[in-house]
Symmetry: C2
Subunit: 344 residues, 2 copies
DNA sequence: TTCTCTACTGTGAACGCTCACAGAAGCATG
DNA sequence: CATGCTTCTGTGAGCGTTCACAGTAGAGAA
């Protein structure tokens, strides 16, 4: 309806002053309406809202930030090697989840990708300079120097996955890796499989360690002897899964199941098994981990452990905002879920 | 070496004033050094730089933006349906490329994902309010209402891929789809194939149309009659590729090659061919499009047309910054390249 | 000398907002 | 009637920059 912003040329946008004049109140009152509306009479409230609608006013975030010292934005920092970023759809799920959760608070997300050492320094400087209020950190190899640096600088920080080696307080949100692994191994056992191979994640990551621990625990509890030849260390990459499965097949040709610590590796493992003439699940049952979008695209479709990415991203944002608001760091562990499909 | 920022508590960061005092010059001089250093004596230049290093000064972007009216940030806007975002690694390549190119200019990238109508409105409002200086737009179905809206609001905008239906000026950067398609079909012909099927992209996208046009052109030029039964329309999804290949096989069992308009669809097509007992490339040669990271992960590895994503992202950023700087919209078409692997 | 030009520097005045404060009005309490 | 408390409102100051302008100094030209 309003004609005020048409006609091609960009004109000076309305300020809080314009709104105040329009509503017949002062700047202060408009500001109070904008920030929660406490101590404002209903009449003023209404007049201001009407004026805002009429003028098409949108707050100038720079002016606000200048005085509040907050930027009302957060960084999403990725310190993964870039191939991971390209290959692993979980990042996309997480990224979208965080973007959405932040959008609900009207907080923009700044994407920061630290591949090289140079980039790391630049980003670290950017963050510690206060250009973002907090950081969502994604990095599997989480003895991360950036994390320590930011924490020491007092920047609110939430990691995805449990950081290792950080003696002190860093907030994190993670799925219950060990419990998920236990579920999967129990499932494979329930199918009558006993020679269950495992391709782990990198053992310098908590996820890698925990999933392997779950595997060992359940086998132990079930009285199945753990054959160390059945365990091979992977790297969460598709190629790694392929190589791992090939290696296991050569070591123990008679294995009847495979627990692979990520769906991406499981895809590689499926290729290797198929190339070796094994039928899945008849000869070898295969269980993955993640429930990534690709899990339904393989044939056979992948039985896997679902990581609740939507909840993970939502919790990361919640914890980060709480921390920005002054609360202490905290850890959140979310339950996983066994998703049965065709491969096991 | 400097102790000034240690000790846990965050202290007030140094301002341009502190630097000026330290260097024994005025705010204005420091500001000039910060912004290009014209009309500053070498001595002052040096003193200011030393003071900046000593104090650890970083410019307050909010204060700067408040007065310049620029935000010195740009938005990366995704209006794709979210499954695409999850599935297609090309987005990640593009996203990383843009992030890097912008980082070189010290410009942060704000990620905006418009899935729902609500999100679209919120984002559009955010952008037209001037919170970003310009927008990098990714949306294959590019009769996009957001694009038109932003263009009308005078927001600098660069699309990835040629927008259709936009009568007037929207900058874009795209690969030469038609030429790429021509290369691939020529290659398939050179292998002696004559019954070449095609799975196209969506025909409401310029890429989809252009790649099909290239296919038709080369066949025409080579005197091979175009059999319409050999053409099926896809949707750039893996499942679409699978269905498309199955359909083509049922229509023309004797086809000896397949040109698939995206690598993701080509992956699906490979599955379908394999399921149908066809050997690739012996029975059916398969050519993809994109050279996505997954192209080397299939077996056989995919012969494809490489889209120069790194150059595309770099050009998008270059064109956007130029436009923010006041230049007119422009279009950039980049050459593709045939990458021969195993599948054709 | 005097004037002009160039290279450089300092100084107020914004930019649009929030915050602390002062004060007004209404109402209950001493 | 004074006093206090609560609810609401307006005002001035100031956040840290950039920008326009004024001004200085030195070099060269008339």
């Amino acid at each position: 309806m309003t004609m005020s912003n048409q006609g091609g040329g960009r004109r000076r946008p309305p300020t809080i002053h314009d709104v105040a004049r329009e509503a017949g109140v002062s700047r202060g009152t408009v500001s109070r309406v904008l920030n929660g509306g406490h101590y404002v009479s209903p009449a003023a409230q209404e007049a201001v809202n009407a004026a805002i609608r009429k003028t098409g006013y949108v707050v100038n975030r720079h002016a606000r930030s200048l005085i509040t010292g907050r930027s009302d934005s957060v960084g999403f920092l990725l310190t993964e090697p870039q191939e991971k970023f390209f290959e692993d759809p979980n990042f996309n799920v997480l990224l979208r989840g965080c973007t959405q959760a932040l959008a609900a608070h009207d907080i923009p997300l700044l994407l920061m990708i630290a591949g090289t050492e140079d980039e790391r320094r630049r980003i670290s400087r950017y963050i510690t300079a206060g250009h973002v209020d907090g950081v969502l950190l994604v990095s599997s190899h989480s003895g991360d120097p950036v994390a320590a640096e930011l924490r020491d600088a007092g920047v609110p920080l939430v990691a995805c996955g449990k950081p290792i080696g950080q003696a002190s307080k860093v907030s994190y949100v993670a799925a219950d890796d060990r419990d998920g692994a236990r579920d999967m191994v129990r499932h494979l056992l329930s199918l009558g499989r006993r020679r269950i191979g495992m391709i782990t994640g990198p053992l310098d990551t908590p996820g890698g360690v925990e999933r392997l621990a779950g595997y060992r625990e359940v086998l132990g509890e079930s009285g199945v002897e753990v054959d160390e030849r059945l365990i091979v260390t992977g790297d969460y990459s598709r190629a790694g899964g392929e190589a791992g499965a090939a290696e296991l097949l050569s070591r123990v040709p008679g294995l009847d199941a495979l627990f692979v610590a990520s769906d991406l590796m499981a895809q590689g493992a499926l290729s290797a098994l198929q190339r070796a003439g094994r039928r899945v699940p008849e000869d070898v049952a295969v269980g993955g981990f993640d429930d990534s979008p690709a899990a339904t695209a393989t044939s056979p479709a992948l039985t896997t452990i679902r990581q609740p990415w939507d909840r993970i991203s939502a919790e990361m944002v919640r914890v980060l905002l709480a921390q920005i608001g002054g609360e202490d760091p905290s850890a959140v562990i979310l339950p996983t879920e066994l998703v049965k499909r065709e491969s096991a």
